[in-house]
């Protein structure tokens, strides 16, 4: 398959691994920020073939996992209001909030619809003029333009019954927050390929320049990830800290300017609450004042009881900060499995616990 199989050649992969081994002398901790990378690394057994000097840590890059309990509680509260249809992406359904989950509510008869795209949510609004359709919008910079577009489209079509509960998050501020927490010593970031397809390479510059941490934007096939690790190790060994792009076939330095313009039209940056980390300044998107008639936070007076912490024993917070490996959680694979997940990191297909469970702990 074009743009896929070429980057899966096992003979070439072996060569890249040998070269990583050859140039790596000093121990480094490299963090993959994106959940899709966590899956790619686990699935292809990349952790297992690394030299002893290279440790790969998983970061907070799964939007489902980092959604705070309180925000899930709010989505559930909204879904329960009469005359409301709540639409969201499938991954959000099973994640437990403080008191319930969207799928448990749906089983109770609450009108919650899983959609593949925001355009499907608009269609639901079109088809149900007597109902209020709320889209529970989570996701990083990759997904937020698709939500922004749905708002522009709703205004264009004159839809009065569509709104968004916007809980979008931005990756570079979260990377900086992890560095300032100082809990883990990092020597390089494997930066997310599709977030960067939208934002470009510039937003990572301050991480390289001010924090002195090498950043390489990576594709998702095994050879992409291996080449990225090689590039990061090379920078670390040379004492450099730059932003490099491995995933050049998709990432332009300026990003996707059409998408960025749309984001800028609809959203403004705000503080956001991350599970396991807390409030990170300027790390989220909210709707601009001009779009408040599409803002579920403004249209409804949401009232939820104070959120509860993660279930006892669940280490998702530490896993999202790269402080613990999934297998270091005492519930991992015992009380907590993908069939009976306890925390979001096991629920989401891109969660670190689910990836380690499915493909081995390496």
């Amino acid at each position: 398959m074009k743009y896929l199989s070429e980057y899966r050649d096992p003979v070439l992969a072996q060569k890249v691994i040998e070269n990583i081994k050859k140039i790596s002398h000093t121990p480094v901790n490299l963090m993959e920020v994106c959940g899709t990378h966590t899956v790619a690394i686990s699935k292809n057994g990349i952790r297992q073939v690394m030299p002893k000097t290279v440790t790969l840590l998983s970061g907070p890059g799964c939007p489902v996992c980092v959604t705070a309990n309180e925000d899930i509680d709010k989505a559930i509260w909204l879904a329960r209001q009469s005359g409301v249809i709540l639409a969201t992406f499938g991954d959000m359904m099973k994640v437990p909030g403080s008191y319930s989950s969207l799928s448990a509510e749906k089983a109770e008869g609450v009108d919650i619809r899983v959609v593949y795209s925001t355009l499907d949510a608009l269609q639901i609004a079109d088809d149900n003029p007597d109902k209020k359709v709320i889209f529970f919008g989570v996701g990083f910079e990759t997904t937020s333009p698709t939500i922004a577009l749905s708002i522009l489209e709703a205004r264009k079509r004159g839809l009065k019954n569509y709104s968004v509960l916007a809980r979008h998050k931005l990756i570079p501020p979260a990377m900086a927050a992890l560095l300032s927490l100082g809990e883990v010593k990092l020597h390089g970031f494997i930066c997310p390929g599709h977030v960067s397809t939208i934002i470009g390479s510039k937003p990572y510059k301050f991480i390289a320049e001010e924090h002195g941490i090498p950043c390489v934007i990576s594709g998702f096939e095994p050879l992409d990830v291996l080449q990225t690790i090689y590039m990061l190790v090379r920078q670390a060994e040379n004492g450099e800290a730059r932003v490099e792009v491995q995933y050049k076939r998709s990432v332009r330095s300026e990003g996707n300017t059409t998408a960025l313009k749309i984001l800028d039209e609809v959203f403004e940056v705000c503080d956001a609450d991350w599970r396991g980390i807390g409030i990170i300044p300027n790390s989220g998107f909210k709707l601009k004042e001009d779009y408040s008639d599409f803002d579920a936070d403004k249209i409804f007076d949401v009232e939820v009881p104070p959120p509860k912490d993660d279930p006892p024993g669940c280490s998702c917070g530490e896993i999202l900060r790269g402080v613990k490996f999934p297998y270091q959680c005492k519930l991992f694979g015992k009380a907590c499995t993908p069939e009976r997940p306890i925390g979001p990191c096991m629920v989401s297909s891109e969660g670190a616990c689910a990836a380690y469970y499915r493909y081995g702990t390496g």
Binding site: L12, G139, T143, T197, S250
Partner: protein, 74 residues
């Protein structure tokens, strides 16, 4: 949920909705984020939208760089 997959554009309608082919399966994706995309282009599809056109030349360059690993003497 951030999964993005390379897909080939096979058809575009007047509302900028494309039929895209992913491993022999046809799906739909909006081209509003890549208005310049044409039939035959490969795009990254994510949550019902194409988010970028893949750059053939850059793809070849990356492969060339990767292949150079084989030539580094032992």
């Amino acid at each position: 949920m951030c999964l993005g997959i390379p897909a080939k554009i096979v058809k575009i309608d007047e509302r900028q909705i494309a039929e895209i082919e992913i491993g022999g399966i046809i799906r739909k994706a909006s081209l509003q984020l890549v208005p310049e995309a044409k039939v035959g282009d490969y795009v990254i599809a994510h949550a019902g939208f194409a988010i970028q056109i893949l750059d053939e030349k850059e793809a070849q360059e990356t492969l060339k760089l990767l292949e150079a690993f084989s030539e580094i003497p032992e």
